[in-house]
């Protein structure tokens, strides 16, 4: 399978802190891949580098074979990468539909001034965009809530709306930053199904940061483990589960050896 995203030896430092250290990664097209790691491992920093929000200090990021490192965020989005945030960042005072309309921005082509005389092209484009927004609202299961102001939506709905907004630009690669954070087991299960459904239905490659191991192990084709900015393991979920370095990173050295001896018994 061809890689849709590949990073080659990227380094990102903040002053003396090395947030990402010589990190390389290949994301196969059409896969669901996960990046896991303890708090502060550099997962979100990695997302910020991919989307161009942070400039990398060294290394390359290739999207469909073309370098995108240090591009402006809006250009990266136009190329087909879109993301959600760990702490939901919707446009809180705009309605759900409007949030999705903003998400469709890269696809709208008419000159801004045409809105003043309401050219036919403008009206058609707006009508199509609105129809698409309604469709997306339904697709993520929020029908009837489209006119609610985003901040008034319940937590789970906000997560879904954020995904709908990210989908609105019709991305080829979707970055989800902890999509199940703060959800109960029921909601987490639904979200897991939904993510799978996204890949199967729309054929979008998905890269997610996730802490819930049941989610990670349940849907990932490939798992990458980060610790202190470095990759410490990569592979199929079940390989990762038994990797001693991963256990050590999560639970500490003593726990890792304890687990091993426990297994031996």
């Amino acid at each position: 399978m061809a890689s849709i995203l590949s990073t080659r030896n990227i380094i990102k430092t903040f002053g003396g802190l090395v947030a990402i250290n010589d990190f390389s990664l290949e994301i196969p097209e059409g896969s669901i891949s996960s990046v896991i790691g303890p708090n502060g491992a550099g997962k979100t920093t990695f997302f910020n580098c991919v989307t161009g929000f942070y400039k990398v200090d060294a290394g390359m990021i290739l999207f469909n074979g073309a370098p995108i490192q240090n591009q402006r965020t809006d250009i990266v989005t136009r190329l087909g990468i879109s993301r959600t945030y760990q702490n939901i960042r919707l446009f809180a005072n705009m309605s759900a539909i409007e949030n999705i309309l903003v998400g469709q921005h890269p696809r709208l082509k008419t000159f801004w001034g045409e809105a003043i005389w309401k050219s036919k092209r403008f009206q058609e484009e707006e009508a199509v965009a609105l129809e698409e927004a309604r469709r997306l609202i339904k697709f993520v299961g929020l029908q009837g809530l489209g006119d609610q102001v985003a901040r008034n939506l319940p937590y789970g709905a906000q997560r879904r709306l954020e995904i709908a907004r990210a989908l609105a630009s019709q991305p080829k690669l979707l970055l989800l930053d902890e999509p199940t954070a703060g959800m109960n087991p029921n909601e987490t299960g639904e979200m897991t199904h939904f993510i799978k459904h996204l890949r199967d239905e729309l054929g979008i490659t998905i890269l997610l940061i996730e802490h819930d191991m049941r989610v990670v192990m349940g849907i990932s084709d490939q798992v990458t483990v980060l610790d202190y900015g470095s990759k410490i393991a990569e592979g199929k979920p079940k390989d990762i589960q038994n990797n001693p370095r991963v256990i050590e990173a999560y639970l500490g050295r003593g726990a890792a050896s304890g687990l091993k001896s426990g297994k031996a018994k």
């Binding site: 136009r78 446009f91 005072n93 809105a115």
Partner: protein, 561 residues
């Protein structure tokens, strides 16, 4: 509550009394007392002096929920007595100690006013007045709902008519001739009889309307009239629009020169406010140097069209030829200011733009640019625009120009707000980083906001220059920016009707109440504080703002679905 709540009553009363004391000591009561409202016994000073007391009486009675009329009346009487205390202390103190060296406004005239020109025996009268007024407030609050609403409304209307009697005078003079004015007005004040007649007639009208409303509600409740009422409301909207349109068109004929000038001022600030509304209200870029673009517009128009010593165009340009150039120049400078502040947010942006506005004013004053901009002498002899042979040289005629400008700008604002660009601006206002992650080009979006806002402001400046004929650097001080910002905040950020209401309230009303002029900024301050505390989203908020700031009241329909 069955018993009287002494604490609330006394506290409310004291607050009302302190308000009266405050207005007295800053000299407003004295300044306003010369302006009679009804006959020669009720003037605007009284309004300031006893307005707070009346409110104290009403609020005290309201605090005693479901109490008997007696308790309501007694508690408000207590509040009224308490309200007399602060001012009485002032009178006693002023009679024994020389206060005027510290508090300039506490003079003989004020004391005479407060004691009803009866010396110390007037003290009792003052107490009597506060108690009676608070008692009236308390009794008023005990009235049944319908009467409370209608009486309160018609009383307010009578007072408003009396306060703005100059408008009434003007309209009646135009419509019925000068003698008709003397029938109901005595100088600036309403005659007591005409005030009483007006009050009774208004009350009658309001009660009739109330009854009809109740009947209509019953019909709607029965469901029979649902479709009919929808159609009727549409009809009413059309009638309202046509009515407002006609009023706007005939306004200068009915209102005469002075009031047309006031309308012109309001229109000028509507133009400014709508431009600033795009920058601050939609795009969320706090711009305190907005007056700079107004100055660019005015100066460009002045320099291009002047027939005075600074004449550069050789009389080549008239108003209409210069207008597009003015707008383009303003847009250009809007972009020029935009570039250096692209990376700035919030407070930093505000400070830099503040500096920018001052730089422009000082440049206009400077000797360096004197050959072009005229320095302190400004640009003189800017000709009035000529529209198909009609010279627009009076406030009545210029009013149409500013009206056309405001309508155009409002139209463009609405269209842009409901488009992709409007959504870009609002997304940027909500969260700049996320907006960029949605593929929005922040540079372009910000520059467009600055450019369009500047263009609107420049248009306002051009009309301003053509109206005045002469422009000077001091016409473009920081106060203009602050005025424009205050009016969009008071009206409601991001709301176009809000800008209009804000301009009327903050620009129109002070022009009408000439007594206010000296206290204009004080009133701004009070109004802004009260607004921020009680209605932070403004008089006529944009939909989303209202939902944001009253989120605790907002329902969550289907939230659990």
């Amino acid at each position: 509550m069955k018993t009287i709540d002494w604490k609330t009553a006394i506290r409310n009363g004291l607050v009302g009394g302190v308000i009266a004391l405050y207005f007295s000591m800053i000299g407003m009561v004295e300044a306003f007392s010369g302006r009679n409202l009804i006959g020669d016994f009720f003037n605007m000073g009284h309004l300031l002096l006893f307005g707070g007391v009346l409110a104290a009486g009403i609020l005290t009675a309201r605090a005693h929920k479901e109490a008997s009329v007696g308790i309501n009346a007694f508690s408000s009487l207590v509040a009224g007595l308490a309200a007399g205390i602060p001012t009485t202390l002032l009178i006693l103190l002023a009679n024994n100690v020389e206060l005027q060296s510290v508090f300039v406004s506490v003079n003989r005239t004020l004391l005479a006013l407060l004691t009803f020109e009866r010396g110390m025996s007037g003290l009792g009268l003052f107490f009597l007045a506060t108690s009676l007024i608070a008692l009236a407030g308390g009794l008023y609050d005990s009235l049944p709902g319908v009467y409370k609403r209608t009486l309160g409304l018609s009383l307010s209307v009578v007072v408003v008519v009396a306060v703005f009697s100059n408008i009434v005078t003007q309209i009646m003079t135009t419509l019925f001739g000068r003698p008709s004015v003397r029938l109901i007005l005595d100088g600036d004040a309403l005659k007591p009889l005409s005030a009483a007649v007006l009050f009774v007639v208004l009350t009658g009208i309001f009660i009739l309307r109330e009854q009809r409303r109740v009947k209509a509600e019953k019909l709607v409740a029965s469901g029979a009239a649902a479709i009919e009422s929808k159609r009727a409301s549409l009809q009413r909207q059309v009638i309202l629009f046509v009515g407002i349109g006609i009023l706007l068109l005939i306004a200068p004929y009915v209102l005469g020169s002075f009031l047309s000038q006031v309308l012109f001022e309001v229109g000028r600030f509507v133009l400014l406010g709508l431009g600033l509304n795009i920058v601050v209200g939609y795009a969320g870029l706090l711009d305190l140097g907005y007056v700079a673009f107004f100055a660019f517009g005015a100066y460009t128009m002045g320099i291009l069209t002047t027939t005075g010593p600074l004449n550069q165009g050789g009389g080549l340009f008239n108003f209409w030829l210069a207008l597009p150039i003015v707008v383009l120049v303003s847009v250009f400078f809007g972009i020029m200011l935009g570039f250096p502040v692209l990376r700035m947010r919030g407070d930093y942006l505000a400070i830099v733009t503040l500096g920018f506005g001052e730089i422009i004013r000082i440049l206009a004053l400077s000797d360096w640019l004197r050959p072009i901009m005229g320095g302190a002498q400004g640009v003189l002899a800017i000709p009035s625009p000529v529209f198909f042979g009609i010279k627009l040289d009076s406030p009545e005629k210029m009013y149409y120009l500013v009206l056309a400008g405001a309508l155009l700008v409002a139209f463009v604002s609405i269209r842009l707000r409901d488009s992709r660009l409007g959504r870009q601006w609002m997304a940027m206002r909500e969260d700049e980083d996320v907006a960029e992650a949605m593929g929005i080009n922040l540079v372009q979006t910000k520059l467009l906001a600055f450019a369009i806002g500047a263009g609107f402001s420049g248009l306002g400046g051009a009309i301003f220059a053509a109206r005045l004929g002469n422009i000077f650097p001091h016409s473009f001080n920081l106060l203009i920016s602050i005025n424009a910002l205050s009016l969009i905040i008071v009206g409601g950020l991001g709301s176009i009707p809000g800008v209009i209401v804000g301009a009327i309230a903050l620009v129109g009303l002070p022009e009408l109440l000439r007594e206010f002029q000296e206290y204009r900024l004080l009133m701004y301050g009070i109004l802004l504080i009260v607004m921020m505390l009680n209605r932070p989203e403004g008089f006529l908020p944009a939909e989303v703002f209202k939902r944001e700031l009253h989120a605790e009241e907002a329902e969550l329909p289907g939230a659990e679905a």
